[in-house]
């Protein structure tokens, strides 16, 4: 895990792009920390899984994507949504179960989606996304758009048959698909070193005929670079890639998790590895951005999240009239 801002990457990203990346990561972090607080008050219903600590992955990958591209996410989906451009206020309202939410309150945290943004949904099924992404990649290929599909999934999901067979299908069909294994060390309370019978998830790539890459998930630039290469190759017809991103999740598996199964890891990671801290010191030390630029973003983001929570709380819930609508297009 090196700390040099690779020149090619530095070259690719202008100030605006750097600021945008920072804004995305900061938005995710602020969103999650606020949901964490609000959940504790008891006002947010259901199961909520937070992405804090993992921001560099969603952000570094999605920075390469545009409207031709689709992503599929997991139960831990807020970060992917934000990085793919889903409206933050609508997301917050969705988490509160409000009619103004991304899914009119019908989906909740585990199902936030915005198909108009190419965000195919958080997914309550571990391993649910990779098959779908074979499909969005196939569509892009058939339509000749140059688009790619990206499946984000966890270390736990890397043991699910649906994920594994998707790797093979993507290779056999030579799809423009990227499989991003987010190895945050645990699936619920189970360590990935135990559940994944290989040194790295990326080691599985060879068995499915594609390159496997390991990146430091605390390092936005490392993710950005690896994803860029894979996405470029995919767009050019070079087929799929498996990227393993390694990092730590900052909160419990879901809100309420006591986390007796792990020890000091989180505090250490937060202190020494944190993606936001590292990004900040790197771009300032190399003179690409000023502290003041970043602090301004922090303030804007903080205001946005405040507004999102206020509006979400004030918004109306769906009503009986909504219960049976939108099951089908027509029935």
């Amino acid at each position: 895990m090196t700390d040099t801002l690779s020149t090619s990457v530095a070259h690719e990203l202008d100030e605006n792009a750097l600021l945008q990346a920072y804004r995305t990561m900061r938005t995710i972090r602020a969103f999650e920390e606020r949901v964490h607080e609000e959940f504790a008050t008891g006002e947010i219903p259901g199961f909520v899984h937070l992405y804090a600590g993992e921001e560099a992955s969603a952000t570094g990958v999605c920075a390469h994507l545009d409207e031709r591209d689709a992503i599929a996410s997991t139960h831990r989906g807020h970060g992917h949504c934000i990085a793919k451009g889903v409206d933050v206020k609508a997301m917050m309202a969705e988490i509160y179960g409000k009619k103004t939410g991304s899914c009119q309150g019908k989906g909740g945290s585990m199902h936030i989606a915005d198909l108009s943004k190419g965000m195919l949904g958080a997914n309550g099924i571990v391993g649910g996304g990779p098959p779908l992404i074979c499909g969005t990649a196939l569509a892009a290929k058939q339509q000749g758009t140059g688009g790619v599909g990206v499946a984000f999934f966890g270390d736990g999901a890397s043991n699910q048959g649906t994920t594994l067979e998707s790797l093979n299908l993507a290779s056999v069909w030579n799809l423009p698909a990227i499989f991003v294994a987010e190895n945050n060390g645990y699936a619920e309370a189970t360590a990935s070193t135990w559940s994944v019978a290989a040194d790295n998830i990326a080691d599985r790539a060879a068995g499915f005929g594609m390159p496997g890459v390991i990146v430091d998930g605390f390092d936005f630039f490392a993710v950005y670079e690896a994803a860029g290469e894979a996405i470029r190759r995919a767009r050019e017809g070079g087929g799929p890639t498996l990227i393993e991103v390694k990092f730590t999740r900052y909160f419990g598996h879901f809100e309420g998790d006591q986390q007796t199964y792990r020890a000091q890891e989180v505090a250490e990671a937060r202190e020494n590895l944190d993606c936001l801290k590292r990004f900040r010191s790197r771009v300032t030390e190399t003179g690409r951005l000023e502290e003041a630029d970043l602090t301004a973003v922090d303030t804007q983001v903080s205001d946005l999240i405040d507004a999102a929570v206020d509006e979400a709380k004030a918004a109306p819930k769906p009503t009986e009239a909504d219960l049976a609508t939108d099951v089908y297009v027509s029935y």
């Binding site: 689709a70 649910g128 098959p131 779908l132 969005t136 196939l138 892009a140 093979n168 299908l169 056999v172």
Partner: protein, 337 residues
């Protein structure tokens, strides 16, 4: 112009006509062409029973063979459907749903609702069901009740070549996920089918035969079994009205209820296992909505609560036949309080 063609040909023609009409229609499944990577001919199979034969050469790049990875390729069809394609994926036997059901019932079926009405998933899953080919317990089931149970899915069960073509074209044009259940013992059945493209709307039953004495609702291949029974019954003075729902979800409850309001008697013929199946579904509907008209107990003719046996001697007993249908009809026709 109508000609006599087989159920297999009707399905093939529906696929071909829709592929011709709409470039977003693609077809995929294990050996749907056949021969990929081999040293011999491509389109070597055209599906395990030849249903997709010929499409591969006619529509280059649009008939995709797949590895044996039903979750991945059925899921891929679903994912592609959210992005402007109209994929028709083949789940070779309906019995294989167990390795890919999640993609169907938790993903495709729920997207629109979970995502607040903002998703559209026009995918068709063609699949083969039913007993009669001595294919035994894992290749002979009639699992459409399970799909019918799931909100968000539509389920078509064509009983004849005419229905097969019209329902499949509708399935492909439909904007919701459709499970299209082809009875494997019907592929060689023939019937009049228009050459031109046509659709049969979902949720519109077909009254196959008029009659005032007993309503028989029959699903899929059971329609012809019911017809056979009806002929025999007619000669003994019982006139049966046969209703073929054609789609089990949506279900044309109106036509069924109207018929029972006239006849006062109901027999449902369903090849599926007896618990929580279409026979119970339709019987319960009638017992709730048309109770006042019912003049006899409802009757249900179904498979027994057993896996499908292999031996022909047993399988022939397993499948509902015209005799059992006739007996059920007689019992409700003759029933007295």
């Amino acid at each position: 112009m109508a000609r006599t063609i087989s159920y297999r040909e009707a399905i093939n023609e529906a696929l071909a006509q829709e592929m011709e009409r709409d470039g977003s229609v693609i077809v995929m499944g294990e050996d749907n062409a056949g021969g990929a990577g081999g040293s011999g001919a491509e389109d070597a199979w055209g599906g395990v029973l030849g249903v997709t034969k010929g499409l591969y050469h006619r529509f280059p790049g649009r008939v995709l063979d797949t590895p044996i990875s039903e979750s991945a390729f059925v899921g891929a069809a679903i994912g592609a459907a959210t992005r402007g394609m109209r994929p028709v994926a083949e789940l070779m036997f309906i019995d294989f749903m167990g390795v890919c059901f999640d993609q169907i019932f938790n993903q495709a079926a729920k997207f629109r609702y979970m995502f607040g009405g903002k998703a559209q998933t026009p995918v068709v899953i063609r699949t083969m069901y039913g007993a009669g080919l001595r294919a035994a317990a894992q290749h002979s089931q009639a699992l459409y009740p399970i799909f019918t149970h799931i909100p968000g899915l539509k389920v078509a069960v064509p009983s004849s070549p005419y229905e097969a073509k019209g329902l499949l074209i509708q399935s492909i044009r439909d904007n919701d996920p459709v499970i299209f259940c082809e009875h494997k013992a019907l592929y060689d059945a023939t019937g009049d089918v228009p050459e031109d493209s046509y659709t049969i709307p979902f949720g519109e039953a077909n009254v196959v035969r008029d009659g005032d004495d007993v309503t028989v609702v029959a699903i899929g291949r059971m329609v012809s079994v019911a017809e056979e029974a009806a002929k025999a019954l007619s000669s003994s003075g019982i006139e049966v009205e046969i209703v073929d729902p054609r789609t089990t979800s949506p279900l044309d409850t109106e036509t069924i209820l109207e018929s029972v309001e006239n006849t006062g008697r109901l027999v449902v013929v369903d090849e599926a296992s007896p618990r929580c199946n279409l026979a119970t579904d339709i019987s319960a509907l009638v017992a709730r909505e048309a109770f006042g008209s019912l003049r006899a107990p409802v009757e249900m003719v179904t498979a027994p609560h057993t896996p499908v046996p292999f031996s022909d001697a047993l399988e022939d007993l397993y499948i509902p036949d015209a005799q059992r249908v006739a007996n059920a009809v007689k019992s409700v026709a003759e029933w007295k309080r």
